[in-house]
Symmetry: C2
Subunit: 378 residues, 2 copies
DNA sequence: GCGGCGTTTGAAAGCGTTTACACAGACTGC
DNA sequence: GCAGTCTGTGTAAACGCTTTCAAACGCCGC
């Protein structure tokens, strides 16, 4: 085994053709006659030739790599998106460079810079709100990079595509459901809203639904917490110790909701008998919480796949890629029910449930457990 | 805004120096006098210069990128590892290329090839068992790439480093705990073992602990299922319908365990009163399952960080990176208890628990809920 | 048989960096 | 003052590939 790497020149020599031909065999095989193609392939296999990506990228002026920046991979909802993104990109022949920004604007800017320097042919971002430095970097970049914004209903710039869902509408539907069950004292544990249009939209949706029936949403019923289970727990305890505690708690995501669930129960209260709780994301485990969590199903994997298709198509070309608005249905489960003292509504135990009213086709009754839970990842 | 990208030559011209000096300013600043350095920096900023990663990699013969291949990102335990890996690599100035292989040998081989072609300076793999084609690719590669194997106790090759934990020992401790509670009819729902040394080691650990007290582990008490919640559910139903159903079920990971939990309860049985269940991974939600899941805490993030340090250090050099064996403690929670009909042991309800015996410092009593649950991700 | 055309191949010019290597000064020690 | 060191900077040759351009080679119809 020689110590020098095998280059395209070695292959050319072994196959007795020019380097140009070898290059063509790998990049545009149909330009080469079958006989030569076989000879070159054979030589390449024999020598164990591996093309040098850097040289290839330098010469062709495209890296066939896509960059993605998520707030964190430590939330399964983002991991699911990235997993799907990577798989689909792979099918298109693109590699994936990934970075996490930890909900930190400066860090995100740095990561964008790093990815652009690495010559990515496209960029996937989460959410529409990004520091202006991020946009400046992207716009300055030659050749232009296609950008896809996910998780949000609409892009803040016309130059980028958007593959997301309507956070506001989803939150609204969630609260409509609670209102319909008879709740009036509805509190929200929101995620941090600064620089986070998704968190903001969810608050806006809750507020909108409430104000439609003449209820205002304000502290202490509205509280903002980091997206962690313990924070959800702590926030729930505060809410339930108010003089007029809420009968329902809407959470900014499933982590907060899981914490809230635990918080409620730690006070000896029952969910949903004493307090209803709902979340946002529909993590795999939401359906297996106890009680199973009513939440909004975020189309994470689908966004990843679409973003991949979109970026692969747009890479190289200059037109901005296409946009899509996906469904984010409310999954009705056992963690929401009528408020205490409310005369029983049409809701029966999950096992024998009568179909609840469908609202715009996006309210779903979901089994709380194994029979209908989402198939879990491996 | 010009249409041609800004190159190092433009910066050199603007700063009235040679391109070599510009390059030095960015790569070995201490070789350049402060005055020039400032002038170059200034020119670069003014022009919005972004270095071309491909050219850089080609000339310097190192990409400053690391590749990682995991079975899937859709399991939070791998996502957590990758998240930590990326963050730490970032600190070292490396980018991360990621790929998932979906427990498929051919796909893994392809991904390794892709990553090597992209010129990664190092590779992180999960597990020690990989198709020989993978090793062939890696060994043929010039210059040599450092490889770190995670999740396993020892590497199958001396040329690669290993940063993992002892799956077998952890599984053994889990079963020792069950034996000590008085269980004798202990079943296992394992993950798919072919080509998966971790899954195999876990089975081996369970078998070892059992055979130490004269119990054999064999079908139907040993069953192999894909790592999904529904599979855990289905497998549990089968086990509990046996003429002699087990009093405890050990699962290959937390997904299977969560499914088993649901399966047990769907039969109207109680966990842990009628059946004990335990898992492996300690996902964030394990502590919030109901009852909270006894499981093995896998040091996913720590493996990611160590792998990053290790690879960053080894990149370029030829010596294989260092090896580490991490702790994987058993987290005792509410899903395990004495078998039915067994006279009460020293175990009291979680709240007033007397410390269980510590075995080699790796059996931990963990709070079932919020007070001690792991801080959840954002 | 020859101009014209389409197809296949080769020669060579980059792609934007890094990095020997050479070289010019500014110091040293004598 | 002058050989010998350092330091800091510039020159130019890679790095391994893609791609343009032109040449070579049929093949057709006249």
């Amino acid at each position: 085994m020689s110590t020098a790497p095998v280059t395209i020149r070695d292959v050319a020599k072994a196959a007795q053709v020019s380097v140009a031909t070898v290059s063509r065999v790998f990049n545009r095989p149909n330009l080469v006659t079958a006989a030569l193609r076989a000879r070159v392939q054979d030589a390449a296999d024999r020598l164990g030739y591996l093309a040098d990506g850097a040289a290839r990228a330098l010469a062709s002026r495209r890296s066939r790599a896509i960059g993605a920046i998520v707030p964190t991979l430590d939330n399964p909802v983002f991991a699911a998106c990235i997993d799907a993104l990577q798989q689909r990109l792979d099918e298109h022949g693109f590699a994936l460079l990934i970075a996490s920004a930890g909900y930190d604007a400066a860090r995100e800017t740095r990561e964008v810079r790093v990815l652009l320097e690495r010559g990515v042919d496209g960029l996937m971002l989460v959410g529409a709100d990004h520091p202006s430095a991020v946009w400046a970097l992207i716009e300055r970049r030659r050749p232009a990079v296609p950008v896809v914004v996910t998780w949000s209903g609409e892009a803040s710039r016309s130059t980028v595509a958007c593959i997301g869902f309507d956070n506001r509408a989803a939150a609204r539907r969630l609260v409509d459901h609670l209102l319909q069950l008879g709740h009036r004292r509805i509190a929200m544990i929101a995620g941090p809203t600064t620089g986070n249009d998704r968190a903001m939209a969810r608050v806006a949706g809750v507020r909108e639904a409430l104000s439609a029936v003449g209820i205002a949403l304000a502290p202490p019923y509205l509280t903002e917490r980091p997206y962690t289970v313990p924070d959800g727990h702590a926030a729930a305890l505060v809410l339930l110790s108010l003089p007029e505690p809420p009968t329902a708690i809407v959470c900014g995501n499933d982590h907060l909701a899981l914490g809230a669930l635990a918080g409620v129960r730690s006070l000896g209260l029952s969910v949903p008998h004493d307090v209803s709780v709902c979340g946002f994301d529909d993590l795999d485990f939401a359906a297996y919480a106890s009680p199973p969590l009513t939440t909004v199903r975020v189309p994470a994997a689908e966004m990843g796949r679409r973003a991949a298709d979109c970026l692969a198509a747009a890479a190289g070309r200059t037109e901005p890629p296409a946009t899509a608005l996906l469904e984010a249905p409310v999954m009705l489960r056992g963690s929401t029910g009528p408020p205490p003292g409310h005369r029983a509504t049409a809701r029966a135990p999950a096992a024998t449930v009568t179909r609840p009213p469908r609202r715009r086709g996006t309210l779903r009754r979901a089994g709380g457990g194994p029979t209908e839970g989402p198939s879990a990842p491996r």
